[in-house]
């Protein structure tokens, strides 16, 4: 292995350990990933497969998300929880992010019972966030609902002590801003626009800069 490859493999090892789960399925997935890692594919290919979902699984996930009804008019929409039942091999790695989202919804609905002026949760934004769950999953996102427009916001703390702040709008736009320090404070801000749900996987282009 070259020095660069060894360094990168340490990063990969850390990510695998960090997501340790006890179930046999997860162990089997880990072993499969190690087999994959040991193959002679290019490092960039290996890295992208560790970090992000493969395209087929992502398309399958989008189908699941498209198939559920999302309605936050009532206390909580139980059909979102049914996403946990999806039969996608990578799902165990995404489940924490889905749980984080459901906690954010419950928290917001509780607050809204006290503060009625808070915006209702945007179901369009919520669905678009759900498309993005596999993309955010490896970044330990913190999810909350913006009280002024009901859209889903996602924060990601980065390895270089920076902050990525994103808002998933209703119309397929993801507004993002990454703020960190080098010699001075620097910011990378923009809007990603997606017209097809299966293209949300390409938001990993933004996350790869972190």
């Amino acid at each position: 292995m070259t020095k660069k490859t060894i360094e990168s493999s340490m990063v990969l090892f850390y990510q695998i350990e960090d997501k340790s789960k006890s179930s046999q399925d997860v162990r089997a997935q880990k072993n499969a990933k190690w087999d994959f890692f040991n193959s002679e594919k290019k490092l960039s290919h290996v890295y992208s497969n560790f970090e992000y979902p493969n395209s087929d699984d992502f398309d399958e996930w989008c189908k699941h998300v498209d198939s559920i009804a999302i309605d936050f008019q009532r206390k909580f929409n139980p059909t979102v929880a049914t996403l946990e039942l999806c039969n996608i091999s990578q799902f165990n790695y995404w489940n924490d992010t889905l749980s984080e989202f459901m906690d954010a919804i419950k928290d917001y609905l509780e607050q809204r019972e006290k503060l009625h002026e808070l915006s209702g949760i945007s179901e369009k934004s919520a669905r678009r966030f759900l498309f993005l769950v596999p993309v955010f999953a490896s970044h330990k996102p913190r999810v909350y609902i913006d009280g002024s427009n009901g859209c889903v916001n996602v924060d990601v703390m980065t390895r270089d002590n920076g902050i990525l702040s994103t808002q998933i709008s209703e119309n397929g736009q993801v507004h993002y801003s990454y703020v960190a320090q080098n010699k001075n404070l620097y910011k990378i801000t923009g809007t990603a626009k997606f017209k097809d749900s299966r293209d949300f996987i390409k938001f990993n282009k933004v996350l790869q800069m972190l």
């Binding site: 808070l118 920076g162 709008s169 993002y176 801000t189």
Partner: protein, 156 residues
């Protein structure tokens, strides 16, 4: 999403303190939710801060705690962050049109308002505010202990 249509007196100097709820703190990082418009009675147009005074950080945090503890019961469970107003305005408002302002709301109470309509700009402002706020923050419990110790010493 313009949040600041009130024509109030702007604040451009001094230090502003912000109470950070426990759930906004994730491993010593502040979530941008801390600068989201959410609390208070309608119309909710600003993010509440309190202007503080003091000769050093210890004084500033004490000043913040003394104010915030009268407004928020059980504030000791959270954290207090300090923002230097001129520095914050300079680093957040780094384009031709400003993104934020601090306005008087009956001092020491002041409000941070978003004066941009662009969601991109608001995300940037919130991320920058979190970045700056986490540079100077202390647990309210630690500040309270410090205040109590100081009071005991002064009684002797």
């Amino acid at each position: 999403m313009t949040r600041g249509k009130l024509a109030l007196t702007k604040i451009t100097t001094g230090k502003a303190s912000r109470y950070i709820k426990p759930r906004w703190l994730v491993s010593d990082n502040i979530s941008t939710e801390a600068f989201d418009l959410r609390e208070g009675t309608p119309p909710e147009t600003y993010v509440s801060h309190f202007m503080v005074e003091g000769k050093d950080d210890t004084d500033l945090f004490k000043s913040a705690y003394n104010i915030i503890s009268t407004k928020i019961t059980k504030c000791h469970v959270g954290t207090i962050a300090l923002l230097d107003v001129p520095e914050t305005l300079a680093l957040v408002n780094d384009e031709e049109e400003p993104f934020i302002d601090f306005i008087e709301q009956g001092l020491p109470h002041c409000g941070l308002i978003y004066v941009t309509r662009s969601q991109e700009d608001i995300q940037e402002a919130k991320a920058t505010l979190c970045f700056l706020a986490r540079k100077k923050m202390r647990s309210a419990r630690d500040i309270a202990d410090n205040v109590a110790t100081t009071e005991k010493l002064s009684e002797k």
